[in-house]
Symmetry: C3
Subunit: 344 residues, 3 copies
């Protein structure tokens, strides 16, 4: 239990209502019951504001009192951030596993496991691997030779980490993800595809989160890099020698082809594809399923396949919608012209 006024203080919010209200949990705006705090997660839920059973609501300053009932409110500048903080207060999921190395793990003699690491049963760690303190490794994780894993990092079940991959601190890697598999490179010798050995590695910097069943290939030479603070959703493909900058957001089912470079603070929405050797600038935002085929300058908002500035894309959609009208206009122009001609 936490009093509403204390909660407001923690998120630097402006409290309107009874600060002594007891908050015992957090829930969605439709599901919330007495004792819960809730928040407005999406504009489409605004209609539920008047009817929620929640004991308090976290809101942006843009929501006026006329949209509301008489609930207790905390107004904040950044509702998403306030929600993240409050949700953590009520986090009852127990990430914490035993700080020990299971006897059922199979660990090479030459691997180094720091104190405070939690290694589950059925983890396999190869020679030369270095696991720093407070790392958590779930069952069925394969850690290849000379892999390094920084402190506080969590590796969920069934993850495969090939030899030589470097993983930073406070990284999360979700179930089924594969890091460091061979890049897709072959040379045609006239009769068959000859494999180009993939001799590079992968480097995942600090504070990166990687979703489930993602694939990140090792470089052919040099390294594939995911920089600090970037977040990658499920089922994303990152090919060999790609660099993804800092604090970027790569949404589910995006594919980034070989040697492409993605800048800092980029957002690639779901199912977007990036061609090989392309450079995407800083702060670029690509809408859902964009096909990025050429370099993109900084700060662009893009859409479509092949990609174009969002405004052009929107205009093009407008023209496409008018195509039937265009065809009938031309028919009437033709008629008119033929009519006049006939009259001559």
């Amino acid at each position: 239990m936490i009093k509403l006024k204390n909660l407001a203080a923690q998120i630097c919010g402006r409290l309107v209502g009874d600060g002594n209200t007891a908050i015992t949990g957090i829930a969605g705006i439709k599901e919330a019951k007495k004792g819960d705090i809730t928040f407005l997660s999406h504009a489409s839920f605004q209609k539920h504001l008047r009817h929620t059973q929640a004991s308090a609501i976290i809101l942006g300053e843009d929501i006026g009192p006329h949209d509301m009932g008489d609930q207790n409110c905390i107004y904040v500048k950044n509702p998403s951030l306030a929600y993240a903080i409050v949700a953590e207060l009520f986090n009852t999921r127990s990430y914490k596993r035993k700080r020990e190395v299971s006897e059922l793990a199979s660990i090479a003699n030459g691997a180094k496991i720091a104190k405070g690491a939690s290694i589950a049963p059925y983890v396999h760690i190869e020679d030369g691997a270095v696991i720093e303190k407070n790392v958590t490794i779930y069952p069925f994780v394969y850690v290849g030779e000379n892999v390094t894993i920084g402190s506080e990092t969590r590796i969920y079940p069934n993850v495969t980490i090939y030899d030589g991959v470097k993983i930073g601190r406070n990284v999360s890697i979700h179930g089924g993800t594969v890091i460091g598999s061979d890049g897709f490179g072959y040379a045609w010798d006239g009769e068959k595809h000859v494999k180009i050995p993939q001799l590079g590695n992968v480097e995942i910097e600090d504070d990166v989160e990687i979703g489930a069943n993602v694939t990140i290939d090792r470089a052919s030479l040099g390294k594939t890099t995911i920089k600090k603070g970037t977040k990658i959703d499920n089922l994303v493909q990152i090919a060999h020698n790609v660099t993804v900058g800092e604090n970027s957001i790569i949404v589910s089912q995006v594919g980034i082809a070989g040697s492409a470079t993605i800048g800092n603070n980029v957002i690639l929405a779901g199912q977007t594809g990036v061609r090989d050797h392309v450079t995407v600038g800083n702060n670029v935002k690509a809408g859902g399923r964009t096909g990025i085929t050429k370099d993109v300058p900084d700060n662009m908002l893009i859409m479509g396949t092949p990609h174009m500035p969002f405004k052009e894309w929107a205009k093009l959609q407008g023209y496409l919608n008018l195509l039937p009208q265009l065809f009938s206009k031309i028919r009437s122009l033709e008629k008119k012209l033929h009519g006049e001609t006939d009259n001559d």
Copy 2:
């Protein structure tokens, strides 16, 4: 071996030919040999009807005798269903594993395993999990804390089930699938992406089948739900707080973004994408690689990106094909008009 007349009776079919024919197996129309029963799986195979070596063919009532040779036939209303039933009769794959808990499984003391469950070697089950009777769990499956798995359910190898996930009865989950991984949610604090704790869970209802390497994220709050009888193909992404209704068909590589709601009896063909917070009505059918960007009313047949009614899409394709012609028409109109003007 089964006599053809008995087989016809089991699928309520109309037998034309020798009911005493011995059927010993099932095979495709091109591969079938004497003793096999076959069926017409796709219109493109109709040309093979006259030449199949099969001892009998299952057919829809729409196939006339003129398309055929003199083979034995069973005519049925629903050939696919008849095929499903006959294939089960000749199913020699041995799903049945030993009804025992392997000594090589690692099972927390607080987990409850019902009698008749089959737990393979190298399965890891956490505290508080409840496994009902006749559940089959293959090797390298991770079952998190407080997960429940209903009776008769099959979990194939290398599946990861995070804490708190609820799985119904008679569910199949194929290899490599991840259920209950964290939803993709962050709040930007001005300097970095702050993780929004994903406190909800996932509920898979009875009779659902989920393909290989699928990802289904847990809800941020509340639950991600897959309702009774829905079938999900390989490599599908289902984001946090999504609801998929009953008896829907989600084909391979579809991505459904956060908080989207999919109705009952929906078909989303391969590589389709659904935007976040969108509602797709009951009985909607989306063609391959549809980009669903807005709410879709019940019973619509849609196509394209952004999606539109199928008929509009087909019309638009027609107009696009005519674009070269359109441009030349305009050139000739311009000429004509200029010509007249010049003559003035």
Copy 3:
């Protein structure tokens, strides 16, 4: 260390420079240091030729001396192939695992493991499986009943191979891949989807490489086939009863629907989709994210959704770019015509 002249001999290259130069490693053109050999991997790197610190460069005969500094060069006909060969010379990744069966592997009595096979800890092999000589199987691999795996094949961690799958010689299967899961087939009985038993299997021929988190479904009847020498990238979906011919290249996130047939020497670029029952001819090349909806004759270069010959697609893109201009032309035609009409 290897002398440059010896290296040139091995790749049948024309050496320009000091053949006694000692080469000690291989690196990318920008990262190379003294002692390294490098190569020109992509036209966009040509500008780095003058500035590379490499001790030698592998080049195609098309690169003239005016593009270069005074570095040692080896000119070859096929630079990619030369690179593949040289990279193998400097390959320090140690694929070689102990040639033994781990005591921590769980292997059914009826499975046959040839001498020289390397079976890691936490591998599970079912009854009737046959593992030929020099096969390498990494941890957390599931090998189902009656699976056969040909000599020299490598199966990376967390791979799932269902019962009855046949894998040829010298095949590589990367982490998390699932082979032989049930094809996606159901018959609607008026109330629910009835599963069509998937009784066929999968056959992977010799010299195939399959990336990470790929899914290849077993056939409903007969077999799903990947022929000799074909290479499949990460996160590809191959549905039941598909045939992929010899020496084809299937790039990441491609989806091939049921019963489609792909020819020999085909290239399907990333995110391409192939409709069910479609036949794609030999030597077809499909650009990124092509939507293949109908049969494609041999030797075609295709693009777009629905697919069309590349030249048509390029023309269509041109017309789409001219749409704004087209609309304004029509407006001016209308004005002109109305003006004339008004003057009458």
